[in-house]
Structures are given as structure tokens and as C-alpha cells.
Symmetry: C2
Subunit: 402 residues, 2 copies
């Protein structure tokens, strides 16, 4: 048998959310009548906007007619109509990103996991802890050295750089998954400065940008000066427009961003990533791209904003419950996530089990996101309004009973 | 700046088909009135079957209604409805593949390129030459040692194993891209035997299986005894059902297939690949999966078979032209590709330029697929009937003028 990539043996056997799904299934088998409320995995529940459905159906019809049928995309990086729409969207919140700097993909997770392929294995990776597991797992799979910047109660779960520590590749996520914290413009400027001083690249995950309401919290790292020399940004329509089951996102690699070869020559990151994708990716389904384009029309934006407002109200309800109960938390504003401290210094997984067993509410144990997540817990605001209210009623009962 | 993965510098700067597209664009600029016929890239031209369009539109409507909306797939490996449909399809040509051994993806290229991630970098890779560039490029990107089995005029461009040479991972493609050659059941049995003797894994690309008409040419490697102990199969709906712009394929990893860790323990390939995909892939768009399901219904199969028959007739027209002209070729039967020897011992790229300049017909230079492709040329049967006939008329003139 061929030799295994042994790095896989260093990983948790399953991706976090698969482990959680298994626990839920076991609970359901033991308690078939339990009325489970899911506030765990960050999945949306509101349907796709009508403008998107119409655009997709029109594109499906086009695919059924020879004259308008679309085969392979020439570039595999997305149709111009969608790259232009995304570029316009960036412009609407003050980021200057040209269509040629945008690549369309099947969701942020793919590019986020695969981007490391183009970097050497001897780079030092800096991840804020806690973090979305893909940043860590995708680097463990290739055997890279990972160091951590602590996000914790003291810094509001928004780690800042330590100038005494060197890193080559930095993962940042704002609004943060799982903690709901955000970086201000000034904080991002510090990270950009740190990246420049270390000749590092920032991989910036802005998947939750649509939830930002505070004008001093940038919707994109490219709203901040100098970012185009150091950052790659990944975003998705999953949370912006409920595309978790549709699969469409985009990655921005500025033209100015370079990587260095051992002979000292500078190489365009965009060109190398394009070469990788040319061999390992063939673009996004045409009807899905037409649906994504519709998100950025006037009507589409109006419709998705209604959905986002709905989730924001859920977040407010959860946050208000925490405040009322005196439970410490971050997030809930600028973010669909509420990250709270487990009562009585309980561990995250113990609290997960307790919530599942006592009130049949599913959340995500903070420990699943890194060591600083231990003792913390994530709830999402992506559920149904009545179910969110019901979950918070149950949660109050639970906390009061402890 | 972070260190580059230097393996990327060993690659051709662009993926083959991007280079060809550039040549065509330059020709078009110089000759804006030229009536170019494209028989180069293996893209289909007939529209998606009506049953597929209907199923996709229905799924788009479902996505627009809260009660039927679909978010993330639990597994990311495909919905049961589609895995069961693919399993039934395999059964129809004698391969016993259970739904759990099937993973749905966004096209064969992604899995084909990414599968190497789960294997150690010290495996020896065997590729038949000429071959689809992804097999080579995806291994060059990770710095693996590649050895070649020669496909050439003497063996009908269907390389067989050399038992004196060891390999750990073997890429086979039948019907072959680019040569149109096929492996018989007996030939595949030899490759399986070789793989077993070398404890090797075969990565079997069956993307063109729908074009097979000869009953002694298996539609899947899993039609052959013992394959489930040594093979991974990758297939796609791109050529089967015109899904090049829809993006859906599937990978079969048998439960029996193991890979060995350095401590001697056997690890399930399916489990490790699932772990990789859990972190780096989030499944295929729900409407696309519903469209793919419709391909395998009675009505869908009837409709796609009409399209395949159309392309097969194109292949016959091209093959008959070659026979009439006395040009040596393989393929054209069991395959949408015709692989012919360039006249007068011309080099592949010289002949590409000649065809483009003299008769405005675009093909693919055999040299782009490996050293044994030099002096050979690929044409595809995926074009329009009248344009294919027109191209062959021009081709006859060209050959007679030489």
C-alpha cells in the first residue's frame, strides 16, 4: 500500500462539526421525542432571496438551450459579470478591489483550506486561538509549524500581534468565528504593520462582514491602508445571502501581493494561486454564479438585508438574555455569534452535554476551537425567531437551576 | 514575504489549455474575420437535458421556501438520493459500488488534483504518457517523483505495466484522454495484478465511460475482479451529461481500500479522504445535485444518450476522414477523442499553428500531454455536426495540399 501522509494521524479523527452531529444523533436515538433546538453549526435557516431563485432558474433555462448553453469557463476564476458585481459590492463599503483581483469559488472553506498549497512547508503559521478549525487543520495536514496568538477574556477575544514573535502567514477572522469579536480599523492597521515588518501574509476571513453595523469596524481588510501589500481576503455568500447549500464565495488576491522564491525573485501570489487552481479546480456552476450575481442587484441586496436584520434581531435576543442573566459574553453585535462563558467554571463539552440533556439545545463547545475556547460556548443567531426565543427561555431555566 | 512552495516554479507557467486559449486569442486579433472551428478543449456543446433543467428549477424553488430550504449538507459527501442514483448507475453496467463508497464532488478535476494530499510525498507515482496534465501537475506541485509508462504507436497508446519497475500510485484513464484508446477487461486485470504485487493504488479516471460501446471494455474498473482492493475511481457528469458548466462528479473509494502508516497499521483511505474533505470542501450545490440525480432517471438517461449518440456520430465522421486520408489514429470508437499522427512527421505545435493559420481549425497538440504525444494531435467530437463536417472538409484540403 502507498505511504500515508502521516500528518493526518495528528488530526482529530473527525472535523469538529461531524463529532457534534454524532452526539446529537446518539441523543436523538435515546430520546426520540426530544424537541431539539439547534444553535450549533453556523448554518442559516431563511430561504434564498426571490431575486436569486429567479436568476438561477433563468440560468437553468439558458443551460437547456444550445445557443445559451455554457460549458467550461475559460478561466475557472468566475465570470466577469460576477467578478464585476463583487467588485461593486466592495466599492459600496469603501474597498477598492478590481474584478481581476477577485476569484469566484465554491465557498470560502475550499480556498481557505487549499491556499496553503502555494506556500512552502517551512513557513511559520500564526493563528489566533480560538479559531475556525480549518486554519489549523489545513496546516497540520501539511505538517507546518503553527503558533498561536491568544484571544481571551482580557483582550475581548481579539488577539493583537506580539512584535517579539515572528510569523510568515497570519490567519485573522473578523467578525470572528467563534467569538463574535471584531477588529476596528486601528487594530487592523496594527496587524498590517506587523505583517509588513515580518514580511508576512495575512489570510483574512471576512465571511461575516454582512453583520457589521459599527462604522469603525471595516467590512474588508482592504478598507485599511496598506492591506493590498500584505493580505488575501476570503469571503462567501453563505452568511451574506444564505448560500450554505448553494456554494459560492470569492477570494481577493491583490495584484501587489508577492511571495519570494529562494533565489530572491518575487512571484505574484495571484499568478501562483491561479496555476494551482488551473490544475485543481474548474470553476463554479453557471446557474449558481448567476444566482450570486443577483445577490448584488438592488433588489437582491434589499432582500438579503431583510434576512440579515432577522438574524441580527435573534442575536440581540440572545445577547439580552446573557446580559439579563449576568453571563459574560462577546459578540451578538456586528456578528451572528454569541460567545459566552460557561456557568460555574464548567468545561465546554460538559456544558454541551448538560444543555443537550437538560434543555435539548445544541450549541458548539468553545474547546472545539482551541485551548482558549475551553470554558466558553458558541451560540448562533441563524435560527428561527420563535425557536430562538424558546431556546432562551429554556436557557434561563437552566442557568437559574444551577 | 512567506516562502513559496518552490515546486510551482517547476511547472509550465500556465495550464495547457490556457496557453492554447492565448494562441487562439492572438490569432483572432490578427484575423478578426476568421471562421474558427474549435475542436481543441474537450468541452461539450449540446445543452443540458430537459429532465435535468426541470429538476434543477424545482430545486431552486425549494431553496426559496423556508420549509424546503437546504443549508449545509451534513456530510459534504453528497445527498443520499444522488449517491443511490450513482450506485444504481454502476449496477447497470455490472459494478457493485455501494452508496457509502461514493462521494459527490464538483467535478472530477478537483478530487483528481487533491487526492494526492492524503498520500506521503515519498510515494513513487506512475503516469502513462501521454496523459491528462492534472495527474502530472498535481504531483509536481507536491514535489513527488513521477515515472512514466510509455503509451505509443506500438502498443496502440495503451501502456501496460513493467513488472520490473515499482510504483506506489498509478494513474490510468480509460477511455483515454488524450489518445482515445481503451483498456479491455483483460488488460485491466493485468494492471490490478501489478498493483497488488506492488501494494500500489490505482487512481482510475473513467470520465469518458459513457462513450464505451464495446462490451469487452469495462465502464468502470470495478467491473473487474480485485479492483476494490486497489483502486479509486473518479468520474464526472461533464462528458456523460454535458455538465462542464454545471460542475458535478463523483469519486468511488471502496471500503476495502487501505493505506499503510509507518507503524504498520492500516488506515482506511475513505476515512482519511473524508477527513481531508471535511476540512477543505463543503459539498456540491443542492440544485446541481438534484440535476445530477435527474440524469440517472429513465427519462434523463434517454435524453443524455441522444446527446452521446450525436457526439459518437461526430467521432465516426472524424475517424472516417482519417481513414480516407490514410492518417494513422487511435480513438473515435468508445471515445469522443481522435488522436492522429501529424503528417510529414511534423511536430505537434507546428501542426497546431499550421491548422490554425491555414484552415482556422483548433485542436490540441499531443506534445502538451507528454513526450510520447510529440508528433500527435487530438481532436474532439464534442462540436456541432455541421461544423465538424466543415472542419473535416478543410482538413482534407490541408492534408492534400501538403
Amino acid at each position: 500500500m502507498p505511504k500515508l501522509n502521516e500528518n493526518f494521524l495528528k488530526l482529530e479523527k473527525n472535523y469538529l462539526f461531524i463529532n457534534i452531529a454524532k452526539k446529537i444523533n446518539a441523543f436523538k436515538q435515546a430520546n426520540p421525542d426530544a424537541d431539539i433546538i439547534r444553535m450549533g453549526i453556523g448554518d442559516v435557516t431563511l430561504p434564498i432571496a426571490p431575486a436569486v431563485v429567479d436568476a438561477m432558474k433563468k440560468a437553468c433555462d439558458e443551460m437547456g438551450v444550445k445557443e445559451t448553453f455554457k460549458g467550461y469557463e475559460d478561466s475557472g476564476a468566475g465570470y466577469d459579470f460576477l467578478k464585476e458585481a463583487v467588485s461593486g459590492y466592495y466599492k459600496s463599503f469603501g474597498a477598492d478591489v478590481s474584478p481581476d483581483e477577485i476569484r469566484i469559488n465554491d465557498g470560502a472553506k475550499s480556498d481557505c483550506g487549499n491556499i496553503v498549497d502555494i506556500f512552502g512547508d517551512d513557513n511559520i503559521i500564526l493563528v489566533t486561538d480560538p479559531a475556525y478549525p480549518v486554519y489549523v487543520d489545513s496546516n497540520l495536514m501539511s505538517g507546518r509549524k503553527i503558533i498561536y496568538a491568544d484571544s481571551n477574556e482580557d483582550n475581548g477575544f481579539a488577539a493583537m500581534p506580539d512584535y517579539d514573535v515572528h510569523a510568515d502567514i497570519i490567519y485573522l477572522c473578523s467578525p470572528n468565528n467563534p467569538t463574535g469579536s471584531v477588529y476596528t480599523r486601528e487594530q487592523l492597521a496594527v496587524w498590517i504593520d506587523y505583517a509588513k515588518k515580518n514580511n508576512a501574509v495575512i489570510i483574512y476571513d471576512s465571511a461575516y462582514e454582512a453583520f457589521i453595523t459599527d462604522p469603525n469596524v471595516p467590512r474588508s481588510i482592504f478598507c485599511v491602508d496598506g492591506a493590498d501589500e500584505v493580505a488575501i481576503e476570503m469571503c462567501s455568500l453563505s452568511k451574506t445571502a444564505g448560500f450554505t447549500g448553494m456554494r459560492c464565495g470569492y477570494t481577493v488576491i491583490p495584484d501587489k501581493l508577492k511571495v519570494i522564491a529562494s533565489d530572491g525573485t518575487e512571484v505574484s501570489v495571484s499568478q501562483i494561486w491561479g496555476r494551482r487552481q488551473g490544475s485543481k479546480f474548474n470553476g463554479v456552476s453557471y446557474p449558481v454564479q448567476r444566482g450570486a450575481e443577483a445577490v448584488f442587484t438592488e433588489k437582491g441586496l434589499e432582500q438579503i438585508h431583510e434576512n440579515i436584520a432577522y438574524y441580527q434581531e435573534n442575536a440581540r435576543i440572545i445577547a439580552d438574555t446573557m446580559s439579563e442573566l449576568g453571563v459574560k459574553f462577546t459578540g451578538g453585535i456586528n456578528s451572528p455569534y454569541i460567545w459566552f462563558k460557561c456557568p460555574n467554571n464548567m468545561g465546554s463539552w460538559d456544558f454541551f452535554d448538560l444543555m443537550l440533556e437538560k434543555i435539548a439545545v445544541v450549541g458548539t463547545p468553545g474547546a472545539g476551537f482551541g485551548k482558549n475556547g475551553e470554558g466558553w460556548f458558541r451560540l448562533t443567531a441563524f435560527g428561527d425567531r420563535q425557536r430562538t426565543i424558546e431556546a432562551m427561555e429554556r436557557f434561563k431555566e437552566l442557568i437559574k437551576s444551577l
